[in-house]
């Protein structure tokens, strides 16, 4: 094992892998450690969606800039990440939803997103299998440049590109302890040995609060068990991701033809519970049947669980910690870490190497929870 590095990243999920690439590209000597393997946590369990329609400007901008990177990522990483832009269709159920949708669309259009409000007829034009009555929809918002990418392929593509640039990945290697002197990070002690470093990045997803605690830092993140399911593959019938904030449902057709989706589990729990529940499957099947009656006859192949690493405002925590020199936060993604990873990685690489940042991230610092928090409302799953 290497005994020193410029930066040690804890967590080989999408954000750890993407950051390893962005830092290696800037000439940093990077080590990534993970107690399991690449994309073993939330990345490999997520809904694969890439959405720019957020209610907070911070999330919408991060997502928009990420889509610009996703659009060129195959060339940049010399890989195929299976990025497709079939759009996101977000159901509007009543006047209250409509008011929020109008507010969101106004902000989203002001930053240049081609999002618009559509009526019930247009819902059926975009996704012919949808039943607006079953959905209880009076309309929807639609952004055609939203889409999907393959989370496995994207994480491996970033990791491979990082390794080609000299980054080292140690899988099945757990962070055990930090050596701290005079308020500065000195080294990471892992299950396989000690690595001296001046910069540690906490990209541990649902386990980020444990890593922070090891460094003596409190963060407000909570791991929440989420569930998803996938059906057998069928012929291609729609390209958009369909979601509803009110019903919490999301589903779309993947490139292999399967329908993948999720909905909040009736037995949702905080903590490290990984058991899939039957009540989730019942809820999901019922709601999917209401949204798209034609899907009732197809078979569910498997269901699984994963974690959202949830913060009080559902926005990520990014940047250095004023309390401990060299400690970088890269967590709290609250269910949307995959879709904003390309831009988050670029910004944190700029921050760590002292470059000028493309977007300010001060409002995403760990210090923000002292005051009043503005919550991201557009959350599903």
């Amino acid at each position: 094992m290497k005994d020193k590095a410029d930066v040690v990243i804890i967590g080989a999920g999408i954000n750890g892998c993407a950051l390893a690439y962005e830092l290696s590209k800037r000439g940093k000597d990077v080590v990534v450690i993970d107690k399991k393997h690449i994309a073993a946590g939330a990345t490999g369990r997520c809904g694969a969606g890439v959405r720019q329609q957020w209610s907070t400007r911070e999330n919408a901008l991060l997502a928009k800039k990420s889509v610009e990177i996703f659009e060129r990522l195959n060339d940049e990483l010399d890989a195929d990440i299976d990025f497709r832009q079939g759009g996101y269709l977000i159901a509007i159920h009543n006047e209250e939803d409509m008011m929020q949708a109008k507010k969101n669309v106004e902000m989203q259009r002001s930053i240049g997103l081609p999002v618009r409000i559509i009526d019930r007829d247009e819902i059926k034009e975009i996704v012919p299998i949808l039943d607006p009555d079953g959905m209880e929809a009076i309309g929807a918002t639609f952004c055609p440049t939203d889409g999907h990418a393959d989370p496995f392929k994207t994480a491996y593509a970033y990791a491979n590109a990082a390794m080609k640039l000299g980054a080292t990945f140690y899988r099945f290697t757990e962070a055990k302890k930090f050596k701290i002197e005079d308020g500065k990070i000195k080294s990471v002690i892992t299950s396989k040995g000690e690595i001296k470093t001046g910069v540690v990045v906490n990209a541990a997803g649902a386990w980020s609060s444990k890593i922070a605690k090891m460094a003596g830092l409190e963060i407000p993140n909570k791991p929440v068990r989420k569930e998803a399911m996938v059906t057998e593959p069928i012929k291609r019938i729609f390209d958009a991701m369909v979601i509803s904030f009110r019903h919490g449902i999301y589903f779309s057709q993947m490139s292999h033809g399967q329908i993948l989706g999720g909905i909040p589990s009736p037995e949702e729990k905080i903590g490290y519970y990984t058991e899939p529940t039957f009540s989730f499957l019942q809820r999901m099947a019922y709601m999917l049947g209401r949204y798209a009656p034609a899907l009732k006859q197809i078979n569910i192949m498997r269901q699984w669980t994963g974690f959202y690493d949830v913060t009080p405002d559902a926005l990520p925590i990014l940047g250095f910690d004023a309390r401990l020199k060299g400690f970088v936060h890269c967590h709290g993604f609250s269910g949307h870490g995959f879709m904003i990873a390309p831009m988050v990685a670029r910004l944190l690489a700029q921050l760590i190497t002292g470059e000028k940042l493309d977007l300010p991230i001060d409002r995403l610092s760990v210090d923000r929870f002292k005051g009043k928090v503005v919550k991201e409302k557009s959350v599903v799953g």
């Binding site: 690449i38 490999g44 899988r171 049947g289 009732k296 498997r302």
Partner: protein
């Protein structure tokens, strides 16, 4: 050419190739990289065979490799059959 996963059309060469390229230690990694065991049979045919290949390549025992995350249902089930307000 030896087919290991009939649902996703994966050969022994594909598996050995992925293990060597990525230094895979687990079936979960092979699943992510190749879609091994993600088809309609859900790995009932291919995973035991892939586990033997992985054991041979890594020098691990089958017991170390085989416990893998189970994802229900045991057999594919139609959506309307499990819907909470029907049936």
């Amino acid at each position: 050419m030896k087919i290991v996963c009939r649902c996703e059309d994966i050969t022994e060469e594909d598996i050995v190739g992925a293990i060597r390229k990525y230094n895979c230690q687990t079936l979960d990694e092979l699943k992510q990289i190749l879609r091994l065991g993600m088809g309609p049979c859900q790995g009932r045919t291919c995973l035991p065979i892939a586990a033997r290949i992985l054991a041979r390549e890594t020098g691990k025992s089958i017991e170390e490799i085989m416990p893998q995350t189970a994802r229900p249902p045991v057999v594919p089930v139609a959506i309307y059959m499990v819907s909470e307000n029907e049936g």
